[in-house]
Each structure stands twice: as structure tokens, then as C-alpha cells.
Symmetry: C2
Subunit: 448 residues, 2 copies
């Protein structure tokens, strides 16, 4: 966790797990005097750097009645500062042949650029500048609000699958803000003012709340020097902002959410369970859930796929996913798309049967071994992508994990036993913890 991170801590990924190849980089991890946390991941394969700035605030930190403001701020961060008016930063990245983007999720907001290594200092200068220098006028805020509303209309309001997903998440979290859409509810976006945006910016865009992740063709000493010359000049606020989040009560009743719409061409059923994350549960429990998700629904050799698609031929695809990186209790998801003519209820019953079998009989050692090997291999392959590598650390650190957690992860996966997987299924895949979503191709007169 950030508060406990050592002031200058260098750990080696290769020391963490025998399964990770020797080329694994030596990570540097330190903190500037103003509280900004820095992670450096050397990667000298190409003369490129990925520069990411992560803020420990996402949509789940949106103030009550202001859902979507984290994402709105992400948009506004491209609107220029006192020093660099709108367009200067982005145009510079483009002129240097680089790429840039930003993303907002439940627990974090992140900004990144990928440029030739010698331009790292300029990226830091720009990014540090917009941590405090943002200029927000009504002329900027109002049109950008319309842009976000249009984004919402395109992505969610015109897409039945997204509408259902929004309703399923809202049903899963009856109290905790993970139930709110990241983009926000339309009527609350409509109410965003310049004052709202400024208040949010001033609260969360501070050095104590940020994590700088640099991966690429650069050494830690150089990053530290550049960071001190840029981010280091941002005045400290004294403490990181507080994240106020109501806790989700223990779920007691299964919920089935059904959305029927004539626009739906392909029905599907999904299931999401409220489960512990890597920080709300034991690390071992979360690792078991990671293995369980892969074993149940990671690819064509998974149990759900084999059972529903290959053996029973009632689905055309099926899968599972565990969102382990989360500050609060998180989601374990299953989904299946029925084969032509098969009712969703039949597919849903088949999913239930697979879960019940795992809960009662456990999993095979073959499935367990295959899932573990694959998960660890994927983690190794992910290091081939500078972006993936940087994102992994940023996501872990902004959701309450440590550099060491990232490095120990392969070892923790390796240590998962079939008993732990069965136990995780028994404890967390009970139907009362779950919301099932049914997406149907047409509405009856009444459902409309």
C-alpha cells in the first residue's frame, strides 16, 4: 500500500518467482519529497519509453450525485493549462511520433504517452504542469459535457448489452459505488458545472495522490532526476485525499436482471458474483479466484467451454473473468452465449451445474495445473509489452497493492491448491452472492 511503500525500494521481479525468466527487469520504486510515488521498469529492447501517471481516484470516488466526474475530469485534462494552451501537449506528442491516451476506471484515472526515450523529460514536464495548471472556463466545460453525454449515448444508451451490463452492476452493488457506471448517470453528467470540475480537480490531482510509472529505455537515476525537475516542483499538499466509500452489505438473495430489446441480435446470459479482491481478501484467496476463473472460463480448454460448447453443444461460447485488482470487494464474472434455438434458462442451468460440481467435487489436478501454467505464462508474455507491464504496476499500486505483490503474484498462483480453488468456489460462488443477466432479442408487449 502506498503509505507503507519504502522510500527507495528496489526489488527484482526475477527474485520473486522461479517461473519468471531471467530477463525480468529490476524495478525501482521510490517517492519524491512531495509524496509522489515513482516506479521505474527498465526495458532496453527498443529506444522507447512509456510514461504513465496514475491517480488514486476513479469513478467509485465520485461525490454523491456527481457520478461520472472522474471520467469528465479525464476529458478536461486535455483542455490546456496556463502554460500550455489546449492542443500543445497532444500536438507535441504527435509531432514526436508518439502516442497518448488516458483511461478512467472504478479505482483510478491514468494518463500515458509512449515516445522515443529522449523525450521522456518533455512528457514529464507537460504531465506535471497539468497536475496543477489546468485552466477550466465555462467555454471549455459546457461543450465537453456534451461530448461526454454523446459518448454515453453512443456507448450505453443505444446498446442493449451495455444497458443490461449497467443494470447488472447496479444490482450487484446495492450500496458501494462500484454499482455506478464509470461514465456516470446521464442526469448527473448533465448537471456538471465548472465549479464541480474544479472542486474535484483540486481535491484529487495532487502529488500525494499520484503514481508515476515509467517503463522503457531509461535508467532509474535518470527518471528520478527528471521527475525531481518536473513533478518535484509541484507543491506538496500534506496528505493524500481520503477515499470515502460505503461498504457493501453481505448479499442475501440472488438477482436476475432481464433486458429484452428488439435491437438484440444475439442473446446471452451472464453472472456476476460479489467476491473479495486482492486487498479485501487474503492474497491466497484472490489467487485461488484467479485460478478458478481461468479454470472455469479461460479459453477453449476451460471447464465451462468444454461442458457447454463442446460436450452439450448448447452454447457457442462461454467464459469467466475475475477482477482481482480492486480496492473493495469485487466481481467474478461468467458468461455464455446460447447456441441457436437454445433458451437462456437452459444455458443458465448448465452454468449452475458446472458451479455446483466444482463446489461439491472440486477440480481436477489436470485442469488446475493447466490453468496455473497458463496464467503464469500470460504474465511472462505480458512483459513483452511495455504498456502491459507499466499498466500492471500502475493498476496494482492504485488499488492498494504493492510492488512486491506484483512480483510475488506468479509464486502465489503457483501455490494455489485444488482444495483452495474448491473452497473459493464454495465460499464465493453461492447464488445469493450473484446477479444473473439475461439479454433477450425482443420484448413482449408488457416488458416494453
Amino acid at each position: 500500500m502506498p503509505a507503507q511503500a519504502p522510500a527507495d525500494n528496489t526489488l527484482t521481479l526475477s527474485s520473486a518467482s522461479p517461473t519468471v525468466p531471467a530477463k525480468a527487469p529490476t524495478i525501482s520504486h521510490f517517492r519524491l519529497a512531495n509524496g509522489l510515488e515513482v516506479v521505474v521498469i527498465p526495458d532496453h529492447r527498443t529506444p522507447v519509453v512509456t510514461h504513465m501517471l496514475w491517480y488514486r481516484n476513479g469513478s467509485a470516488d465520485d461525490p454523491q450525485g456527481k457520478s461520472g466526474i472522474a471520467h469528465f475530469l479525464e476529458h478536461l485534462m486535455f483542455k490546456g493549462t496556463a502554460k500550455y494552451p489546449v492542443g500543445v501537449f497532444s500536438n507535441t506528442v504527435a509531432e514526436l511520433g508518439g502516442q497518448e491516451n488516458a483511461f478512467t476506471f472504478y479505482d483510478f484515472t491514468a494518463y500515458f504517452q509512449r515516445v522515443a526515450a529522449q523525450h521522456l523529460g518533455r512528457m514529464m514536464e507537460f504531465e506535471a504542469d497539468r497536475m496543477t495548471g489546468l485552466v477550466l472556463s465555462d467555454e471549455v466545460v459546457a461543450p465537453e459535457r456534451d461530448v461526454v453525454l454523446e459518448e454515453r449515448r453512443m456507448r450505453t444508451d443505444s446498446d442493449p448489452a451495455s444497458q443490461l451490463s449497467e443494470a447488472v452492476q447496479a444490482s450487484l452493488y446495492v450500496h458501494h459505488p462500484y454499482g455506478l457506471p464509470v461514465i456516470g448517470w446521464q442526469h448527473e453528467i448533465e448537471g456538471f458545472s465548472r465549479a464541480d470540475a474544479l472542486a474535484y480537480y483540486n481535491r484529487f490531482y495532487t502529488p500525494e495522490n499520484a503514481i508515476l510509472v515509467v517503463a522503457g529505455d531509461v535508467e532509474a537515476d535518470k527518471v528520478k532526476q527528471l521527475a525531481e525537475e518536473t513533478y518535484g516542483r509541484v507543491p506538496a499538499r500534506g496528505a493524500a485525499p481520503t477515499r470515502l466509500r460505503p461498504r457493501e452489505p453481505e448479499p442475501r438473495a440472488h438477482r436476475l436482471v432481464t433486458l429484452a430489446d428488439p435491437k438484440v441480435q444475439q442473446p446471452n446470459c451472464s453472472r456476476v458474483y460479489l467476491v473479495p479482491s486482492y486487498v479485501t481478501g487474503e492474497r491466497e484467496t484472490a489467487a485461488a479466484l484467479d485460478v478458478l476463473a481461468h479454470l472455469l472460463g479461460g479459453g477453449h480448454t476451460s471447464v465451462l467451454y468444454r461442458r457447454l460448447v463442446i460436450e452439450q453443444k448448447i452454447a457457442v461460447t462461454a467464459g469467466a473473468y475475475y477482477m482481482g485488482h480492486a480496492l473493495d470487494d469485487t466481481r467474478f464474472m461468467l458468461y455464455a452465449v446460447p447456441a441457436e434455438g437454445i433458451p437462456l434458462e437452459a444455458v443458465d442451468r448448465a452454468v449452475d451445474a458446472v458451479i455446483t460440481e466444482v463446489v461439491l467435487k472440486g477440480v481436477s489436478e489436470d485442469d488446475l495445473a493447466r490453468s496455473k501454467t497458463r496464467l503464469i505464462a500470460d504474465a511472462v508474455y505480458a512483459q513483452d509489452s511495455q504498456f502491459s507491464l507499466a499498466r500492471w504496476y500502475g493498476e496494482a499500486l492504485s488499488t492498494g497493492q504493492t510492488v512486491e505483490d506484483v512480483q510475488l503474484w506468479p509464486e502465489r498462483i503457483e501455490a494455489v491448491t485444488s482444495e483452495a480453488v474448491k473452497q473459493a468456489a464454495r465460499l464465493y460462488l453461492g447464488k445469493r452472492r450473484a446477479v444473473t443477466g439475461f439479454l433477450l432479442p425482443e420484448a413482449t408487449a408488457q416488458a416494453a
Copy 2:
């Protein structure tokens, strides 16, 4: 609405509707200098008064992460003041042969006593005193928190029907605090401190936020004099506290919440729709929903009862209810208890068929006339109870309605047409607006 209420307004219930008998009382409605609103309902049939103090804050105003604090404060209000230590007020009421109680709901908290008319002044003195004089020590707060936790365990946590109801409400309101239980979530009650209680008390227990309703053997002039001598001494704060409530987004998907528990002896199915209240919708729409609820499920002559219980014999009872008095979008509820051996799904389909029929074909003039007559008659009979009469005004005024709204209500019901009822069903009883609850007698291995 309170802010628009005239400073000294006297209206006559009998003038509002020709269906209300001539004995209907002359209501006085005025405001003290410190903002406290007063309603006096003379009732000279017995030498008794009902004294009620309503505060415009209920569980839906609980601050984020402090669900249940409105109800907790209701408990603490009986813990004594600097002037009258714990027990003095209640003992006095008992010695005078009176009754007292208090209740907390989503939009209000109310305190009342019923005593012989000559003791009204003493009740006012006590009630005005605890508007500002409450003494809250840790020795009082901590044990009372345990009392509330025990109340929650008894009423909700050990009762599957209450658990289901809590889950259904939470599913209906994905954003608005009507989805929170009035008593609060257990883990948040556990966290209540003396400071939380005091902050809440200081925010909401003010003269501007209160409505005094006195019904009984007393004249308005006397009530005004007594009110000025008691409540009138409470210093004004300047303005009523603000109620901050996020608005519920438009629902898009039907939700079925299923709770299975071995303790359940009698299964049932319920349905709750998100609909306008008397203040969020047109008054005419709300009146149509009142008639629709009665027509569908008010007693043994209602359509649901006739269809499910008498004709199809698949249910042992069925009913409907509309919670029209609410500051924000509210609930329209249906329920049915299946006959022995009938699956809930069959009963649920029969309920759907009744709704669909109303939506498509409308309602009969006979049913309409019977419901309207009955609703208006019930309102007249309610005047026989001093308590019901006082509560009616208190509830209306604390949920954004006016004295005139209460008085015009019979007329509005009388004006409802069959077309308005059909239209209300069509607009608001679509399944996407609804949550269905299934209570089942036993859990499968997996659902447990």
C-alpha cells in the same frame, strides 16, 4: 410545499369535496416566527389531543455511510435533556394516562403523544425542549446502538421475508437512498458515534425543519399561544436544512430477486414498480395510481384477488399498494401468496396477465366506481381517528404536499377516469420498471 405555505392559512376540508361530510373540521395552518409550521385540526368529540411533531428528515436523508442514523436519532431523542433527564418526559405521559411513540420513515421522523386536552401545553414544553436540549454522552449512545442492532437482528436478519424485502428495495433503487433500509445496514449502525449523532441532530432538529400537528379538543388560538410559549422560544437557524438526494436513473431492465431459506413456511411473490409520487408526478397521475392500486389489489373485490384467488384458485391472497406520499419517485406494490402446491412462477405469470389486460384493455367502469367510492369512504372514516387524521397531514406536509392537497384529495380521486387508470398502468407498470421478489421455502445446495 412548506416554503410556499401561507403564513396564516385557514382552509376547510368540507369546502374541498362534496363527498366529505359537513362535520369535517376547520384546519388552521400557520407558521411561527422561527419558521416552525403548525397545523391544527379541531376534534371535539372527546376531551383528548394528539400532539405530533414531524421533522422533514428520514432515512433517505441519512448521510452517505451512515444509513440508519435518522432512526438511531429517534431512539436517542428519548434519552433526556439538560432540563428533563432521561425518563421524565415518558413518565409524565404515563402518569397523565397518555400514550406516546415515535416513528422514522424514508422522508420523515415523527414524535407523538396523546393526552387529555388540558395537558397539551406540557407536551409542547417537553417536545420543544428536546429539539435543542438533548444530552448525548458516550454512555447513552453506545448501549442504544446495541439496542438498535438487536432490533435489526430481530426484525430483519432473522426473518427471510424481511431480508428479501430489503434486497428487493435495494434492487429497485440503484441510486436513490429509498433503496437503503430505514433501520440502516448493520455495519454502518455499528459505526455510529456520539459525534455522528450530534452532527445529525444539529443539522436536522431545527424549528425550520419541523411541522407541529395538533388534532383534538382544542382551538387554533390556544394552540398558537401555547406553541409560541414553547416552540416559539427555540431560536431560528435561518433556513431549513437541505435534503441532498441523488435522483434515480430511468429503469431499463426487470429484476427478479430470489431468496430461499429453510425458515420460510409460506412462499410468496411480490412486485414493486418505480412510479411517480404525488409530488414528483402530476397530482392527477398519482390519483390515478391510487385508484389503480385499489382497483387491482384493495381487498376481496379487487381484480387481482378475484382473478387469482376466486377464479383461478392459484393464490390464497393477493393485493396492491401505492406509496403516493413520498418526496421522490416511489413504489407501487403487488403481492400474492400461492395456494398449496402452486409454483411461484405460475402466480407471477397470472399477475403479469392481469397487468397486461389492464394495459391493453383498461378497467371496467364498475371496478373504477367501486374503487373510487371505497377510497373516498376510507378517507372519511379515517377522520374518525384523531391519530389517522393528524398523521395524514403530517405525512403529506413532510413529503412536499400542502394542506390543500390533503383537502383536495377526495375530489382528485373522484375525477380519475378509466382512461387515466389505463394510461397510468401503461406508463408505469411496464416490467422494466419493476423488481419481482420470490420467497421460497428452502434453498438448494448452491443457493445456500
